[in-house]
Symmetry: C2
Subunit: 428 residues, 2 copies
């Protein structure tokens, strides 16, 4: 009653060498990787993977699932207008049911583009967890805390964060984990940060935060905290707990050192940073410092996709453009960021294709007219393949996409439910 | 015996306002655009375009079709290594048949991503023209001249360029036009440029050239010609004939003025420029100077796609990232670059959706989980849609893609023919 993937092209060693192999999957893990044909038992699902690249599922390590409801609502506007005149008013109208259907819309897009694991930060987290359970992928979920002080409001925010952890950590057969998310330095006061760190220590969950995303954020921190964001948060011991920090676009050389020393994982979001005009994160410096750098799309309101193949492509091209060096962030390295590094940051799921690893595996057809000839599978994946070349997605040993068909989400129902909500959400 | 497209979303005025309309196409042109249902005659093809964006076909105004044979052959390497150790040796092995099948591979990808018109520069132009005729899209074709001097070799290069014009200009019911292509300032001497300009004047065809693509090219021109490329070529009267200039990444403010004054069309190739580490063209300055700026993918060896939807996305995001301004190159403007401006540069094909225009029309499904909700069609197209959301492509009033199926190219045959060639082309 396992799965046998025959004749797939797969990275079979640490250095990224690829080979045509056969894979057996049973009880949620990879049990065989063999160049020779594998025996097939009655009840096994056998898939012909000829011409397809098998790799660990893509990890979208920073997103806001329900924001697909706002995709394209306000593009090409200044950051402040975008937030104050469009996103925040629209978010105030969101119901728990809106969040559920918006999350499923993102999850449908994600699975169809090869994502098997995500880290999300938002509110109405019960709805998001229900959607993730239904979609059957892995997720690290957190309630986004926004509070100036640890007053009544601040305490109620911490309480919500605690409730999300207590209700959902370890659920969905362990595919759901949780984090605690003080949103950012400019939205949370010192007391709130301290309470969040205490809660993270108490519950043994990581922090998942926004860090040094915009120039304004850095200027604000210098004015209000007397230091740049990384230095400011480090000075109150935030990074004493495991931390997943999204963005890190505007960080000094000293801050890169601190991030490395504290073992913080950085989640690079190149498309969102580009589209909002926030600039280029110093990815090469971060990697050179030994930092675990993963990739994320950010929410679909600022991307506007939840497509990690495109995110890998943009990560590489934006760095090559900004450095002027075509050897920057080569295809294999950026694939490692989107797979192994993401899994390392979130602490679960497949890191590579080898025996004993979690069976989070995607198949990408490299034989389409958009992708062929596939001289080098990583290059083809990163620079030429498209989301729709992803044919199959397996999470924890079970198919969630088979031959381009979603098995856990009713796509037409999701489209119907989203469409009947957008009029209300976008009203002036 | 016409085509009726019902209930499509289309830009119906100069300012880009979109509306749901019905379109009638007959004898290669748009004959009706109406908000009310159109009468249907026996023999008409009627297409339900509900939820689909109808826009003028995308114009890929700078490419090298056969280079899809080298897609992914050598990525992430320095520009010089890429050219000298990989591309040039592989090009030496190309036969006329290789060029034919490689061109069809690119054309298959292009049609499936909404392109109806291209400008190509390469060699074995007879093979390219045969492939374009078969694919049934519009093309401006040219032989790429490489010659230091107007010696025997230089004259034979000019002769080949002339033969391409005489053999192919106006063929395929006028869908094929030609240009003359002195390749670049660093590959053609003064005498060759002068002969090319004479030929362009004689034949009434435009020049299609590479211009100011790399920093090395600018340094070379300053050393060898005593001036930067635009100034150097202008000094010998090159821009006295209509010119399509690809790249223009490294141009001074004075050169932007010259380009504007001479009416040169610039073809921006953002992905290729990024991937080769060549930098960002000053697109906003070029547009502000009143220059007609189109978009191109460049060849698939440096892109690695022939996908104009992705090229539009990258054009906008790369400029937003480099300028730090999220209002730079908004969705509608970049769509105009990829449609109207490209058609203006090449002098044929549809410029907009209106009565009397050539019926080069594509339908893009904006209702997929990757694209919806479509608050604003241009935003959805540029920032969210994918190549595989293109459902139908009409060129000069005839379908070349219908419901995602290529009608003029046998996709499996192309894949077979390309696959049996790549071993020979990539040998050391």
């Amino acid at each position: 009653m396992g799965i046998v993937l025959e004749n797939v092209i797969a990275p079979v060693s640490e250095d990224g060498t690829t080979n045509t192999v056969n894979l057996r999957i049973k009880d949620g893990v990879i049990t065989r990787v063999d160049e020779h044909p594998l025996p097939v038992s009655r009840g096994d699902t056998v898939v012909d993977g000829g011409g397809k690249f098998a790799l660990p599922g893509l990890v979208n390590a920073h997103t806001h699932l329900p924001m697909s409801l706002f995709r394209g609502m306000a593009d090409d506007v200044p950051l402040d207008t975008w937030l104050r005149d469009h996103i925040w008013p629209a978010e105030k109208r969101l119901t728990a049911d809106d969040v559920y259907w918006g999350s499923l819309l993102s999850l449908a897009e994600m699975i169809k583009s090869g994502t098997t694991q995500i880290a999300d930060m938002y509110f109405h987290t019960n709805s998001i967890a229900r959607a993730v359970s239904k979609a059957r992928i892995r997720a690290t979920l957190s309630y986004g805390i926004v509070a100036d002080k640890l007053d009544e409001h601040g305490k109620s925010q911490i309480k919500r964060a605690r409730e999300t952890i207590e209700r959902w950590d370890g659920e969905a057969s362990g595919r759901i984990r949780t984090a605690i998310s003080p949103h950012a330095i400019y939205t949370c006061g010192r007391g709130v940060w301290a309470a969040a760190v205490d809660l993270a220590q108490d519950k043994h969950v990581p922090l998942h935060i926004h860090l040094s995303e915009t120039r304004d954020e850095v200027a604000w921190a210098v004015k209000e905290w007397g230091q740049t964001p990384v230095m400011a948060l480090d000075s109150i011991g935030v990074f004493s707990v495991p931390t997943i920090a999204a963005h890190c676009v505007h960080v000094t050389a000293q801050e890169v050192e601190i991030i490395a020393q504290r073992g913080v994982s950085v989640i690079h979001c190149p498309k969102s940073n580009a589209k909002l005009g926030n600039g280029h994160a110093p990815v090469v410096s971060l990697l050179d410092a030994g930092i675990n750098v993963g990739l994320g799309t950010d929410g679909a309101a600022s991307n506007n996709s939840q497509d990690m193949i495109e995110e890998m492509r943009m990560a590489s091209l934006l760095q090559k453009a900004s450095t002027g060096d075509p050897t920057t962030l080569p295809a294999q390295e950026v694939t490692m960021m989107a797979t192994r590094n993401g899994a390392n940051a979130l602490g679960m799921g497949a890191r590579e294709i080898s025996v004993g690893q979690d069976a989070d595996i995607i198949l990408v057809d490299l034989s389409g007219v958009d992708a062929m000839p596939a001289y080098e599978p990583f290059s083809t994946l990163v620079y030429a393949a498209h989301a729709c070349d992803v044919t199959d997605v397996i999470v924890a040993g079970q198919f969630v996409l088979r031959d381009r068909k979603l098995l856990t989400i009713d796509e037409e129902k999701v489209k119907y439910e989203v469409n009947r909500r957008i009029g209300r959400l976008s009203e002036d």
